[in-house]
């Protein structure tokens, strides 16, 4: 069964979606979308370094993303620039450094597009093993730090006062993000990873009554987007990674259609609906 490239692609994609959904919830709740972007752009520098030192790409990407997260934490403490300016600085310098470094390595023949937009149709059995094993580890750690991380997301000081150690949860969360970027880069590419973190989560918001439920729903919606996107890409001969993102977008648009709200035409949004309307929308 795994000999079929399409089956392998679906398995790998679902594996990634199951992890990006729950992690993406925190990205959305904490308004860290740009942070996801920064880490994924830095991934390209990881790729360049992997070629330079001839080490495993996933490992190098994880290392670089982890370094960028730590650098960000440290820079934020110094607070010389606003957080979004810092993120932009780190994101684009890492991306540019990666591209320049790759251009210098004339001996390396690689498909840059594959890294930018993903190459899900070329995943190997080893890739699938890495994705699923890595995914299980990431989800297990996330489950372990769920309560302090969520409490810190609601209010950091409250969590700290009541003995939740939010600082440790935050650092672990950033490392999990780096790990997810590293294992999912091959699926949708560095430019679209953030989409897999955010769009399924955004689609899940409308139907979720609690944070845990939202995490599970985001994972399921992400998996549906992977299946839909891959079949769409097969049908219409479109690039696989972007097709998955387009499928996720379609699900999001569906989720905000008033059809799903029994109470009537109130789209999800900053001022959306009464609690009654939200409950009515729950499946």
């Amino acid at each position: 069964m795994l000999d079929d490239f399409f089956t392998r692609a679906i398995l790998a994609g679902i594996g990634v979606a199951l992890v990006t959904g729950p992690l993406g919830c925190f990205i959305v709740w904490r308004r860290l979308a740009y942070f996801g972007d920064t880490l994924s752009h830095a991934a390209l520098l990881g790729v360049a370094l992997a070629f330079l030192f001839e080490i495993n790409i996933t490992l190098a990407v994880f290392a670089v993303s982890a370094c960028v997260s730590i650098a960000l934490l440290l820079l934020q403490k110094r607070a010389t620039l606003s957080a979004d300016a810092l993120l932009g600085l780190l994101a684009h310098s890492a991306l540019a450094l990666g591209l320049v470094a790759l251009a210098f390595m004339t001996w390396v023949r690689m498909d840059l597009m594959g890294f930018l937009f993903g190459d899900i149709l070329a995943v190997s059995k080893t890739d699938i093993a890495v994705i699923w094993l890595g995914g299980v580890v990431v989800l297990a750690i996330l489950a372990a730090i769920w309560r302090p991380l969520f409490a810190a997301t609601v209010n950091r000081e409250l969590a700290e006062a009541e003995g939740m150690n939010p600082e440790r949860a935050n650092i672990i969360f950033m490392l999990l993000m780096a790990a997810v970027i590293a294992i999912s880069m091959k699926i949708v590419g560095v430019l679209l990873i953030t989409a897999m973190l955010i769009i399924p989560t955004a689609a899940a918001r409308r139907f979720a009554a609690g944070p845990e439920q939202m995490a599970v729903l985001a994972a399921v919606i992400g998996a549906i987007a992977v299946i839909g996107g891959l079949f769409g890409s097969l049908e219409w001969d479109t690039p696989a990674g972007p097709s998955i993102v387009v499928a996720a977008l379609c699900l999001f648009v569906l989720s905000i259609l008033p059809v799903f709200s029994r109470a009537g035409a109130k789209p999800a949004g900053p001022d959306s609906g009464s609690p009654r309307a939200q409950k009515g929308a729950r499946p």
Binding site: W29, L158, A159, A161, E162, R205, G210
Partner: protein, 285 residues
């Protein structure tokens, strides 16, 4: 005064230094079990900063903070905004920082009068409802130390009184220490054992009446605030009310002596009044 047993939280000349200035400095205070301590002071006087030191959110740059080991803390922060992207019901919020049994959650919600809101989304609550939800969450933790940072924001006056009564009841039932932050001494007076008035440092402290009548408090809040407080206190003090003349005389005493002899108000009114009267007579003579 006998030395109390081990305090829940003790600050010893603690201070926080940020960006070249002291937000608050030289604060020494403690909260004991079964005691309500109120921090008052104008905006920016370091009330929240002091509370955060007591909670361990901020590490003092000077002095020390000691909390009893194994102390269970509950905190009601001044501001807490829940992002609309976060689906969070009241009953999930009750369990934010630790497991709470259904019984405890339900009893906390019924004593704050929010049982009907258990399934509601936190972000859709009104200001007053949300304050009660935060209080219920803190109660359900059965804390040893409860820290409340302006717990009556967005609550109307009658609701305010009810909330302070509830806070007193929490203290009585759980025998926990309560550190309360308020900018309005007026309403908290009846509920407080000890008041600490902050203005970047401890400006004065003692019983509510002693603080309200102290010269430092008047300098900080103006004489009118202080005198309206005195009147308010008298309305609630039945030993003073029947006799208009005593009340009047006491008002003058407040102006002159109370910053030194604040302890008198701790004692029974009957013992106190003739005493104050004599003093007043001496002053006049």
């Amino acid at each position: 005064m006998p030395k109390k047993p081990e305090a829940l939280a003790t600050l010893e000349s603690a201070g926080i230094h940020r960006a070249g200035r002291w937000l608050v400095r030289g604060v020494s205070m403690s909260v004991d079990a079964g005691e309500i301590v109120t921090l008052i002071g104008p905006n920016g006087s370091g009330k929240s900063t002091t509370a955060k030191m007591a909670l361990g959110i901020l590490k003092p740059d000077e002095g020390s903070v000691i909390r009893k080991t194994g102390l269970r803390v509950a905190y009601v922060p001044q501001k807490l905004s829940v992002d609309w992207t976060m689906p969070l019901t009241v009953s999930r919020f009750m369990r934010l920082t630790g497991h709470v049994s259904d019984d405890e959650a339900n009893s906390a919600m019924s004593s704050t009068g929010i049982s009907h809101l258990a399934g509601a989304e936190v972000r859709n609550l009104s200001g007053g409802e949300f304050q009660r939800v935060m209080l219920a969450r803190a109660m359900a933790r059965r804390p040893g130390l409860l820290v409340l940072d302006e717990p009556v924001q967005g609550v109307d006056f009658t609701g305010e009184i009810a909330l302070y009564e509830l806070i007193q009841r929490i203290r009585d039932e759980m025998n926990c220490g309560i550190l309360l932050i308020s900018h309005d001494l007026h309403v908290v007076m009846a509920a407080t054992d000890r008041v600490i008035c902050l203005n970047g440092h401890v400006c004065c402290s003692g019983t509510p009446t002693a603080v309200a009548s102290s010269a430092e408090y008047k300098a900080l809040f103006g004489a009118r605030a202080a005198s309206s407080l005195a009147v308010y206190e008298h309305h609630h003090d039945h030993t003073h009310l029947p006799d208009g003349r005593v009340r009047h005389a006491d008002g003058t005493v407040t102006d002159h002596c109370h910053s030194e002899d604040g302890h008198h108000h701790d004692h029974d009114g009957h013992e106190h009044e003739p005493h104050g009267h004599n003093r007043e007579a001496k002053h006049d003579a």
